[in-house]
């Protein structure tokens, strides 16, 4: 549905995008992830034809945006980072304007009404946009993107600046829309992408650093290869017992958790949970807690962004920091 090939873009001398390529099939939701200034908005602006790239190509449903912009633009609904709203118009006037601007061939009133229902702005239809709250403005922006039911939706940080309640609503809406549209969504929030998207592209400094299915990205490193243990007993002895267990490669003493109890992390080549349990069952020492350290998308992401591609080395509990 969407094919982005070797996209390159310079801002004066700064390379904003460097050979960005990815593709997306019909009905998929792609999460475009990266820190601020990574090139997310630039990529989206090129996909939608607002900017031109200095190299590479973008194909929307088989139509090249550079060669046939009119045709390609009809297939895209775009919600930019700042919704392009005319403050002096009412919501209805604005949507009617966008309807005509996009040359939508549908009965105007019914179509606009049904979209207003969908994004829940029916009750503010007659209000002037200037007076709307941030959440409503975002939704009017989304309504504008939905006009004409374009097969492709490009949403640039659709939940930024919304309150938690609104964020949940918008995410639910996007997931619903994903059933009928192919969606590219950008975000610097991992939880969002994890919650909504089928596929993730991580971009940093204008380069794509990871391009995977969400499940496989989250799954990386989520094994029992690293364990966290809390054990009651004599510190030295526990430490050496852990080290003697077959398959253990490293034991790190994290210190005293509560009186007489110590925390350790254990790295191993394979699953050693059973061995540890049996070893300690023979002694007076008690295992109070044993849990695999899970790598969340967050770890993978931070690992990738900070340049450590080996996810196993990524800090494991950044989420607590």
């Amino acid at each position: 549905m969407i094919k982005v090939k070797n996209l390159t873009k310079y801002y004066v001398r700064n390379k904003a995008l460097d050979n960005v390529s990815f593709s997306l099939n019909e009905g998929e939701i792609l999460g475009f992830l990266g820190p601020n200034g990574a090139g997310k908005s630039t990529t989206m602006n090129i996909i939608t034809g607002y900017l031109s790239g200095d190299g590479g190509s973008v194909e929307i449903d088989g139509v090249d945006i550079l060669e046939n912009p009119m045709q390609a633009k009809k297939k895209i609904g775009y919600l930019p980072e700042i919704p392009p709203l005319y403050n002096d118009m009412t919501v209805r006037e604005y949507l009617e304007f966008m309807f005509r601007l996009k040359k939508v061939r549908k009965p105007m009133k019914e179509h606009i009404n049904s979209i207003c229902e969908k994004v829940k702005i029916s009750d503010v239809r007659e209000r002037v946009i200037k007076h709307l709250s941030k959440g409503y403005r975002q939704r009017v922006g989304l309504a504008q993107a939905l006009l004409g039911d374009p097969p492709v939706l490009v949403l640039d940080e659709p939940t930024v600046g919304l309150d938690p309640q609104q964020i949940i609503e918008i995410r639910r809406l996007i997931r619903d829309l994903g059933k009928q549209h192919t969606i590219i969504l950008s975000s610097h929030l991992l939880s969002e992408v994890q919650a909504v998207c089928d596929k993730i592209v991580i971009i940093n400094n204008g380069k794509i650093v990871a391009d995977e299915l969400t499940a496989s990205l989250t799954g990386t490193g989520a094994s029992t290869e690293k364990l966290r243990l809390t054990i009651e007993g004599r510190r030295q002895q526990v430490h050496s017992m852990l080290q003697k267990i077959d398959g253990v490669t490293a034991v790190t003493d994290l210190g005293e958790a509560e009186k007489g109890c110590y925390e350790f992390t254990v790295d191993s080549r394979r699953d050693v949970r059973r061995l540890i349990f049996r070893a300690f069952a023979k002694t007076d020492f008690t295992i109070l807690q044993m849990s695999p350290v899970e790598f969340s998308l967050e770890d993978t992401y931070l690992g990738i962004i900070t340049g450590k591609n080996d996810t196993k080395e990524a800090p494991s509990d950044v989420s607590n920091l």
Partner: protein, 234 residues
């Protein structure tokens, strides 16, 4: 294109700008009309049109200042440029919307003609010719104003720069008198707006002058198109 035209035209009257411009234009044309026609007891409106030349210089930047600058500042240009509309169509729509507001201003002359017709027999051909001439000249100023507006995000800057350009253009004749090189004088006179406009106001509509104003209009609309297109590559 018609969608953008309608929106832009209406936006002038969603804010005080449209009303202020109309009021100012009618106020001054009313004063000149009163002094030069009613008070002097003359039915010839040519001098009113000549006096209005300077008002036009100041009014048009107010009409054109928001044209592209506001769209850029509010990021609504993203909606326009990602819609299936070509850039020339966007430029044309915005130009026509601004020109329509100016045309609305010119209607004040029709009212004055009507007032005059109660007391004397006004020369309608002169009035209509003058309105036409002012519209043609105004279209050049509007195109220049829109071009300036496309260069900046600030409508205030756009207005000030347009004022300066317009005033400089109107000073060309004065400069022309003070220069003693014939070739330079002829270049300056060729570029002069006021000289050509005064021909109009005397009832002489020469093809050359019409072509001149239309060429200036087209040139600046073309340049605007280039500026907007170029920004996509910057």
């Amino acid at each position: 294109m018609s969608a953008i035209y309608k929106r832009d035209f209406r936006s002038y009257f969603n804010s005080p700008i449209g009303y202020a411009v109309l009021a100012a234009f009618m106020f001054f044309s009313g004063i000149f009309f009163y002094v030069q026609c009613l008070y002097m007891g003359s039915a010839a409106m040519s001098s009113v049109f000549q006096s209005m030349f300077f008002i036009v210089l100041f009014v048009i930047p107010l009409i054109t200042m928001k044209s592209f600058a506001d769209d850029r500042r509010n990021k609504t240009d993203q909606a326009l440029l990602t819609a299936p509309v070509s850039i020339p169509a966007i430029v044309a729509a915005k130009f026509l919307a601004a020109l329509s507001v100016f045309a609305l201003c010119l209607c004040s002359f029709l009212i004055e003609g009507l007032v005059l017709s109660f007391m004397a027999k006004p020369d309608w051909s002169v009035i209509i010719g003058n309105i036409f001439g002012m519209l043609i000249m105004g279209s050049s100023f509007v195109a220049m104003g829109i071009f300036v507006s496309s260069l900046t995000e600030s409508s205030i800057v756009a207005a000030i720069v347009s004022f300066v350009i317009n005033v400089l253009l109107s000073l060309l004749d004065t400069i022309g008198y003070t220069v003693h090189w014939d070739w330079l004088t002829s270049i300056i006179n060729a570029l002069s707006f006021q000289g050509k406009y005064n021909d109009f106001s005397l009832g002489m509509i020469s093809l050359g002058n019409v072509v001149f104003f239309l060429s200036v209009t087209c040139l600046f609309l073309f340049l605007t198109d280039r500026v907007v297109e170029r920004r996509r590559w910057a």
